[in-house]
């Protein structure tokens, strides 16, 4: 079977898997960004309970395997009465894991905003919440965007693990195809290329665009 014949026969399933992978990536990204912001800000709290909670979260989700976390969320949580549909369990696990890494990016970026910015905001008598929202976060966002580009590529690749709980993503589809056809080079080769194309020609250009957009907003471009 030529490669074109292969694509003609299995293209639909590969395409549908690709769309699932992209949807998982988007949903996990939204969750990861929300968690990263919350946990990153919580870690900087003066309240020990608040910062401690964030630290424990970050330690657990950075310090253990994403696959084990995925299995926990899908297979163990139901024992405690929390049952998630497999697609949901998939993006929640990936989002929570990458969110823990993102929290450190958020914290690092906030800390690298020059001290004078905090002082100027205080001299204008802004409340702590307003200082953060109006002055510090917009600048921190610009600082952390390049690192987020990296993290989102990690996230995309992390979504491949959800195939192991039978979410019909790209990885799941090519595994199925390989199981019946044994065309390993064609199936996994195609998957490899598609993951690369999403990372290189969709995520990276999008992040570059976002960086330029943000720079224009702050008048730096």
């Amino acid at each position: 079977m030529s490669y074109f014949e292969f694509l003609g026969q299995y293209g639909d399933r590969i395409l549908s898997g690709t769309l699932v992978t992209m949807l998982l990536t988007v949903l996990a990204t939204v969750l990861a960004v929300a968690i990263a912001l919350a946990a990153g800000l919580m870690r900087m709290s003066k309240n020990g309970l608040v910062s401690g909670t964030a630290t424990v979260y970050i330690e657990i989700f950075r310090g253990t395997s994403l696959l084990v976390q995925l299995y926990w969320i899908f297979f163990v949580l139901p024992l405690f009465g929390i049952t998630l549909e497999k697609f949901t369990a998939g993006f929640v696990a990936v989002g929570m894991n990458l969110g823990a890494y993102g929290a450190e990016l958020v914290r690092g970026a906030i800390l690298s905003v020059p001290r004078g910015q905090w002082e100027a905001a205080l001299a204008l008598n802004m409340s702590p919440a307003r200082r953060m929202r109006r002055v510090i976060l917009p600048q921190a966002l610009l600082i952390m965007l390049p690192s987020w580009g990296n993290l989102l590529i990690e996230l995309l690749k992390g979504t491949a693990l959800v195939a192991l709980i039978a979410v019909a993503d790209l990885m799941f589809q090519v595994k199925q195809i390989n199981g019946t056809t044994f065309l390993s080079a064609q199936t996994f080769g195609t998957a490899l290329i598609i993951y690369y194309v999403i990372a290189r020609f969709m995520i990276t250009p999008f992040m570059r665009w976002l960086e330029r957009f943000m720079q224009r907003m702050v008048g730096r471009a």
Binding site: P114, A123, L124
Partner: protein, 273 residues
């Protein structure tokens, strides 16, 4: 903090000549290092006081304490008769809480050595930020006020530029307008010309001269520009080792310094200039 003995300090300053700013036996320490040692300093309403002295003499700390960027270890600071660092509670002074600090801080504005303009806002937005988001002014009024002030500092034509497009002198002038937009009673200038190229220092000092001439603002300034200080100050305080070594009118202090350390400092500065 609770065992602090503040019984000697009044809950508020009253009388006909209450100073706008009053430091009473204020000390600041970092561990063993004494930055300010029982400082007493009164600044009258409308007075322009300049603080000079060698680095490490505590002069910038005076301004930073007044802006509540630094806490104090002993003593009490009063602004417009009311305690700044403390508040009255059950007939005695206790450490100020966040709410009291916010209320008192509205009396004070500050300009910094490195300008600290918000880089993600235009000159106009920098000047509107406080009035709109802290004072709750309608945007239209805040814009009017900001435009007026930018006009006054000669930056009206650059109002839509971000700070990265402005020179140091221009940024500092916007920073002065930004602080004035909050209508403070006391303005603090912390080495506002120290980070500037020599050729643009004049555009900033001219703005401050104009403020002194036309407005009844109380001002405290830390500077190394002795000629400028001499021209516009009502009083010069020479700081040394966390204390006021000598103070007087510019003519007294520059023309006829009494203390040896003052003489040494002034001649060293003169040689460098």
């Amino acid at each position: 903090m609770t065992d602090e003995d503040l019984s000697g300090f009044p809950l508020a300053l009253e009388g006909p000549d209450v100073p706008m700013v009053s430091f009473r036996k204020v000390s600041k320490r970092y561990g063993e290092l004494v930055v300010l040692d029982a400082l007493d300093l009164d600044v009258a309403e409308g007075e322009m006081v300049t603080i000079i002295g060698p680095s490490g003499s505590g002069k910038t700390t005076v301004l930073r304490m007044l802006m509540t960027l630094e806490t104090i270890n002993d003593g009490v600071i009063y602004v417009d008769g009311k305690p700044l660092t403390h508040m009255p509670q059950n007939g005695r002074l206790v450490r100020a809480n966040a709410r009291h600090l916010r209320e008192m801080r509205s009396n004070i504005g500050m300009c910094f050595q490195h300008f600290n303009l918000f880089p993600h806002m235009t000159a106009l937005e920098n000047c509107m930020e406080g009035p709109v988001h802290v004072l709750g002014m309608p945007k239209k009024d805040a814009r009017e006020r900001a435009e007026e002030l930018l006009e006054m500092v000669g930056m009206a034509d650059k109002r839509d530029q971000h700070p990265s497009r402005l020179s140091g002198g221009q940024q500092q002038r916007v920073a002065i307008a930004r602080a004035l937009a909050m209508r403070p009673k006391v303005m603090l200038f912390d080495e506002v010309t120290s980070a500037l190229d020599p050729e643009v220092i004049g555009e900033v000092t001219n703005v401050i001269r104009q403020l002194v001439a036309r407005h009844n603002l109380t001002m405290l300034m830390v500077t190394h520009q002795m000629g400028f200080a001499k021209d516009i100050s009502d009083r010069i305080c020479f700081f040394f080792g966390g204390r006021i070594e000598e103070q007087g009118t510019p003519d007294e202090l520059f023309g006829n310094p009494q203390k040896e350390r003052t003489q040494q400092f002034l001649s060293a500065v003169k040689e460098a200039a």
